[in-house]
Every structure is written in C-alpha cells, then in structure tokens.
Amino acid sequence: MGGLREFFVPVRHMMKKEFIEMRRSKLIIMLVIAPILQAIVFGYVATTDITHVPTMICDEDSSAKSRALADKFLNSEYFNIVNFTRDPSAIQGELGSNKAKVCIRIPKDFEENLKKGKSIQVQIIGDGTDSNSATQTMSRAQLIIMAFSEQIFADKMAVMKPAVGPLPSLAMEERVWYNPELASANDMVPGVIGLILTIITLVIMSLSIVREKESGNIEQMVVTPITPLQIIVGKIIPYIFLGLLDIVLVVIVCGIIFKTPFEGSFMLLLALSFLMIMVNLGIGIFISTISATQQQAMFSSIFIMMPNILLSGFLFPIKNMPLVLQWLTYLIPMRYYMVIIRGIFLKGLGFMELLPEASALFIYGLVIFTLAIKAFRKTVS
C-alpha cells in the first residue's frame, strides 16, 4: 500500500496544478455551464417532425370541393399557408425566392370531374433544394390528399353498401414502445449528452499535454522525480471527475426540463460513461503526444470529433450508409456509446444486454491508452 501512496503523491500535485489552471482561465465555468446550455438548446432543436412548412395553394378550380381540399391543408399543423392564389404563373416566383417550399396545385374542373367519377391529378410541387424536408413534406401532402380521396371513396361505398354487403378493410393499430409520444427530444437528449461529453474530454485532453510541451514545462517535469505515468494519471483524473459531473448535471437538468424518461440504472450509466471518458482521454493524449503545436492538436481533435457526430448513428442511421462506411463506424467510440446511453435512458437495458458495446469500449480504451502512454514516454525521453 505504501507504494501506491507514494505513487499518488506527485499525482496529487499534478491534479492540483491542473485544477488551478482550469479555474484561473475560467475554463471550469465553460466545462460545467456550456454542456447544460447546449443540452437544453439541442434538446429543443431536434424536432424531426417537419411542421409549419411555408406552403402555397394554387386553386385553379375555386369551387366548394377544391376549397374543401385546401381546408385540409389549412387545418394541418404541417403546413403553413403563405399564399393562396388561382394563378399558376405565380408558383415559379414563390418557390424560386424561398417564400414557399411546396405548392399544392388543384386543377380546373376539379369538382366537375369528381361528380363524373373521373380520376383527377393534384400536383404537389416541392422545392427539391432541401430534399429531406421536401421528401417528408410531400409524403405528408400525399397522405392528406389520399385521405381526402378515401373519404370520397368511403362516401361512395357507403351509398353502395346496402347493395354490395359488408366490405373488408384493414386498419393499422400502432404501438410505440420506449418513447410512446415519439418525442424526438427523448432520443436526442441522450445523444447530445454523449456528444458534449466527447467534445469536452477529447478536445481538452488533446491540448493539455502539447501545451506543456509548447511552454517548455515538460522539460522541467522531466528533471523532477515524477514519472510519465504519474503525469498522465494526474492530468486525467480532473477530467474524469468533470466528465462524470457533467453527466450527472445534464441528466438532472434534462430530466426536469424535457421529462426525458430514465428507465435504466444510473450507476450503470456512470460506469459505462467512465469507460467512454477513458477512451476519449486516451485518444486526446495520443493526439497530444504526436502534435507539436496546440494548433495541430486542435485540428486533429476536431476532425476526430466530426465522425463522432455524423457517423455514430446519432443523426443518420448507420444501416443506410454505404458498406465501407458502415465498417468504418466500428472505429468510432460514439457508435457504441450511442447504443449505451439511449438504451439505458429509454429502454432500461441492463449490463448483460450492453455487454457487446461495453467490451468494445473497454478494448478500445485499453489499446488507445497503451499506445498513448508509449508515445508519451517517447516524447518525455
């Protein structure tokens, strides 16, 4: 035990130094306040439902029936009618200037053709420059028009029914588990927590050692009896502590504001977050040792951050990526942590169910730390 205590004496000094520096540069405020603010803002941002799309209705028929169809759009929260016209030549200008994103064009003789029982085409013109919104908005519009058509169909059937007899139909009974209202905040918030944790620990760590190099402190440390391992341990403990503190704070705040459900075990979340923090710190140290200036370290760490956001399954399903990129995602720690944090928050997954992800992070951490410490030893000597 004496050996262990001896080991931790210089470590404690190292930690103290790190904390003093954090406080002096006001970094500590940033590390505690910013995550909470960001989690709140991005929790609200993540409305995957595209609503209030600026919409123009071009009603060339201007009859009671065509207006009934237009009313369906007027009453839908997905569409926000900004322009109502009879003149189809106005469409070009409205869509071209971004004033409207979609236009519903009801043709002439709409009502008459309905009475005649003819098939009628209603155009939905979408602005394809934003193909995500366009696809979603246009399928919403299609559903509205189809529902309108079905209503007419059903009315007609109801008239025929006494003659035809009972008709079969299929209905959908939907059930959503784990997040019944499909509130996107519920799966965004855990994701955002994971990302902020990564940004903070990885970016901060990647600068912290190269800083000492740049300012020449490292030479001074080498002449003291402190070992490379002690330097690293002393440097990472404050950040482990801060990372875990951030998790606790953000989970509490988001629980209060967004009422994000928390089904799983909090201790399990902390334990697995610890693994994730270690992986990030390991990557940070590694970047730090192979960089000569803080600028290089910054570039490297930011470009490692981007895949964590875009390739982790946070926003875009991994399943829909090209195969080569799907393989690449196995190298991204966030991929595993996303499953962990969403699983614990929303599904209440236990340790056994998260074992594959947990072991992936564990092995990842082991490998990256071995590499980092090796590289660091080399830098010091």
């Binding site: 970094l27 098939s119 013109i125 139909s169 059930r175 875009l310 990129l325």
Partner: protein, 394 residues
Amino acid sequence: MTPGEKKLGRDTGKLNAKRIIPVMKKEFLHIVRDTRSLVIALLAPVILLVLYAYAVTFDINKIDLGVVDYDRTFISREIVQKFTASGYFEVNKGCYNSMEKCVKTLRMNGIKMILVLPYNLYTDIKKGREVKLQVIGDGSDSNTISIGLGYCQAIIAQISGNLMLETVSSRGFDVKSVPMIVPVPRVWYNPELKSTNYIVPGLAAIIMMLISALLTSLTIVREKEHNTYEQLVATPLKPLELMIGKIVPYIVLCLIDVTLIVSVGILWFHVPFKGSFIVLAVYTLLFLFCALGLGLIISAVAENQQVAVMGTALGTLLPSILLSGFVFPIASMPVIIQAISYVVPAKYYIVALRTIFLKAGTGFFTVWGEGMFLLVFGTIFITASARSFKKTIG
C-alpha cells in the same frame, strides 16, 4: 513618445497599409511554417466532404422489420410480401414468427419495427370485417419510426383499398364510377430528389465554418500565451489594423478551400451548378469575413489556447450542424431556438450555397438578406475583437 509615433497615433480614422502588410506577412509565415496544419487545412475539407457526402443520407429505407404472422395464409403472406416489395422494409428472418424473439431483437436494436398479423385474418376478410394489423415501433429511434409508421400506413391503406375494390367487383358491381384523386408529386430544382445535391452544399458550408473559425481562433490568444502580445501593444499598430492583417491571409487560404470543395462537388458528385461563380465568390467572401471574425473574437476574449479551442469547438461544431437548418428545418423549431439560430453564420451560407447551386437565375439580390446578416455579424465580430484588444492595452 517620439514625434513619429505621435504622428502615427493622430490619424486615428485611417488605416495604414504599411502597418497592415507586416502583420499579414507574419501571419502568412505562421501558416506556411506549420506544414502539418497547412496540409490539414487544405486537405481536410475535401476528405471530409467526400466521406460525409456518402455517409449522410436522409432517405430512410431498409428498416429492419420483425414479422409475426399468426394467420399463415396466402393473404397474410401477400401482405408481408407487399411490405418487402415496397423497399422500405427488410424482414428479419432470425425472429420470424416468434413474438418473444422479435421483442428481444427489438430491445437489442436488431429490428426497429414489428408487424403482427392476427389470427383469423383470412376468414375475417372473407366475411367483410375490419381487420386490425398491429405495428410496433421502437420509439428510441423516433425519426426512423415516425417515417416508418407513415410508410406502414400508406401500404396498409393501399392493400385495404384494393381489397375493397376486389370484393365489390367480385360481387358483380361496377367500380369504375368511383372517383380517384391522385396526388402527383413534382420536384423542382432537384428532380430526382438526389440528396447529395443538397447535402454537398450544406456540408461545404459546415466544413468551411469549422475550418475558418478554427484557423483564426488561435491567432491572438497565441500571442498572449507566447508573451508577444505586449510587444504588439507597444507598436503603433492600431487594433483594427491588427485584426485585418490577421484575417486576410486566412481569407486567401479559405478561398482555396472553397474552390477545392466546390470543384469536388461539381466534378465528383455531379451537383448541378446553376448560378454564377461571381455571386458565389461574393457570398463566400461575406461568409468568410463573418466566420473568421467569429474565430477572431473568441481568440481575443480567451485567456489561453485551451479555452479558445474549447469555445470554438462548443460554439461551432454542434451549432453549425444542428442549428443551421442542415439537418433540422429551422421553421419547425421553437421560436426561441429560431432566434438563437440567427447567430449561426453557417445558416446563412447554407441557404446561399444551396440557392446558388441549384436554382437557375440566382442573382446578387436573391439571397441578399442572408448576405446582409453575414456582413453585419462579421463587422460586429471584428470591431468587437479590435475593441477588446484596445481594452487590454488600457
């Protein structure tokens, strides 16, 4: 104070190129000397663009579906067949027909949705009853599920309509007199709804936002850390001159980046370029002015490089991706968040780039509102950083 300095100090209104050029030269040397950073700054945008343009897709298809078919008749099999044929769903064979296995797989993310076909499906249809098909979705992936439920709704409605019509006509009635309203989707500006066409301009804006803010975020704070700051203060250099001298070399560097990215977008991804290159150049300059200015103000305020990098990372990474309208449309956000989105420069550049790229006949004034915002914010950022520099002197 020597008479020379006094003279220089007096013409406060005018900026002197003689003093700006040495700052530019020094900053330029800084860029060239750190070869690794230079290579990253030049190559990273292209690499990132290519990588993410392939990865980012908003099309949701091939949703993993578990199927539990209690009926096991040709009709129930036909319904499952309709789901697979749509291309939106992929039936997981591992948990087929076992509710228990399906639930377990759903929990472990192996499937996203479960379709349950009830007993007596066939007989109920024959008897002309309404049959309920149960669809269970994993709400922990709310985006995929809300779209997936929409697909299910449409597929089921279609099957149901066909069933009715078949029944009616099988009983010898004429169904042609039933009117049908057919929605005809038409997409303008991007007819095949190729998502790369709009993802590439969006990604280009985000990547440039990151690169440019990062580049300037260290320039001033570095001087503070290396104690060359006092030396700068002691020269007759005016704060604004310092800022301009610091920014110009990076504008040049970023213009090279934009040229590379735009070329890759047009030549590699075949994104149509309908607008004019001159308009693109003007808006790019406005954007760079603003984005570099943002980095500059972070640099001027930060105590050390660690704080500056943290500020830039937190201030640009997630906001540029999530608040710029790249992923989530701004019009759907709560009003307060919409207000916050106004200070995200990437938001304006994304609109400008997408419009210039995809809409023919875009002139200088089509997106002038975006340009004005960039100009105003850029001016605020740069004068504020000049001001904070002055304050430190006093």
